[in-house]
Amino acid sequence: MKINLEKLKFGTELIKRGFAKMQKGGVIMDVTNVEQAIIAEEAGAVAVMALHKVPADIRATGGVARMADPKKIQEIIDAVTIPVMAKCRIGHIAEARALEALGVDMIDESEVLTPADVFFHIDKRKFVVPFVCGARSLGEAVRRIWEGAAMIRTKGEAGTGNIVEAVKHMRLINRAIFELQRMDEEKIYITAENYAYRYAELASKVREEMGLGEVSRNDVVFEEYTLGEIITGIYEILLEIRELGRLPVVNFAAGGVATPADAALMMQLGADGVFVGSGIFKSSNPPEYAKAIVEAVQHYDEPEVIAEVSKGLGEAMKGLDIFKLSEEERLQTRGV
């Protein structure tokens, strides 16, 4: 059959969400160079996240964290056959467009980098490339899905090697879905209004300073969308979640996974797969760690396998106590 180019459709929601579905049950590993990318591919990673520095080093170095050097990302794209993802700053449309032009397979609009916009995330529907975004709650997840994210991941607390925040975020989302399934349409609409209000914050702040009245439903508040349209969009997503009993896109765990048992724990809590950031290449034996985490995700409900793959792995990354981090040091509070 000859391809009729007019009938070919690119970047549809089906294709973007479909890409994320192909990652299910897999481990996506942060890598900073070609050697690490090859180790990840050989260990059975379903994709790699090309970075300049892993989150633990971003934390240690401080300063503004930006999109990785495209040259480095290109080298990794050329080195492996599995998909390559890369991070852009929250709201940084230009970085995202550059990554799309580079041929990155999925963009992580990530709180691990320094946010570029305190009001808005990227309107991801306008891109051909799919996006993944972090979330701490159902509200954050639903806003990102409304903006066009094809995949959600827990934010956790990246670069700490401490699973506690990822567990917290997964539990908060699961509990909210549980509540949603016991709500009628009227209550769900009220929740949609609450979730949508975040988009009106900029307009609301400016109007208040200017002594104008409250933001109305007919006001355009984000890109070309009125507040009313956003509420309706979010309401429809909430109804879909109630129907499905889960998010309508793939939901991965991220932000603190350091050991095979951590990965298995997140799968048991309902994650569709796992991102491992600093956990692999900050451990004492990256190739073995990478393989062990892949095995642990596949056999998350088989304790004997988790025990076996965890044997003699050497030192996990050192890790940080979340409660000793100041508010500014917490990456998860970025981009709500």
Partner: protein, 198 residues
Amino acid sequence: MRVAIVGVQGDVEEHVLATKRALKNLRISGEVVATRRKGVVSKSDAVILPGGESTTISKLIFSDGIADEILQLAEGGKPVMGTCAGLILLSKYGDEQVEKTNTKLLGLLDAKVKRNAFGRQRESFQVPLEVKHVGRFEAVFIRAPAIVEVGKDVEVLATLEDFIVAAKQRNVLGLAFHPELTNDTRIHEFFLKIGDRR
């Protein structure tokens, strides 16, 4: 009828749901089981290898003994289907990407596949495709492979430009695209009936 979906990695749930709908449409009573362990495929009447990452799925099915069970089932004439990554695994020969990553293949379909034949994710597409025995079908290609050569026993079911994107060799069906991502179950129905026709 019992249909096993190899569930080690990929869009397993989508195949479970599509197969359940197809069974219902055909009025066949049966169950659909996703499995990550050996012992299930060997007790099934048909098996599906889903989409996902072929490098990952290959490692896991060969290390866990599921690969041998698929081979035995195929030898017994039971229907075997692979979509996207599943097509790669069913094939006999791979391209340099398959070789470079040392991806082990099952070799059930006498075909040579090219991984990521259409490009990266931004080049992924959907298109109405003419599929033999099925008709026009909205086909979703995601970083899809394609078949570049087939042996004489292979029936070509669909082509796109110079590539073969659906092919059948007796009871083995390989597709470069993802019928499980749309609500149209005709390909799953065609697959479930392969056993009857032989």
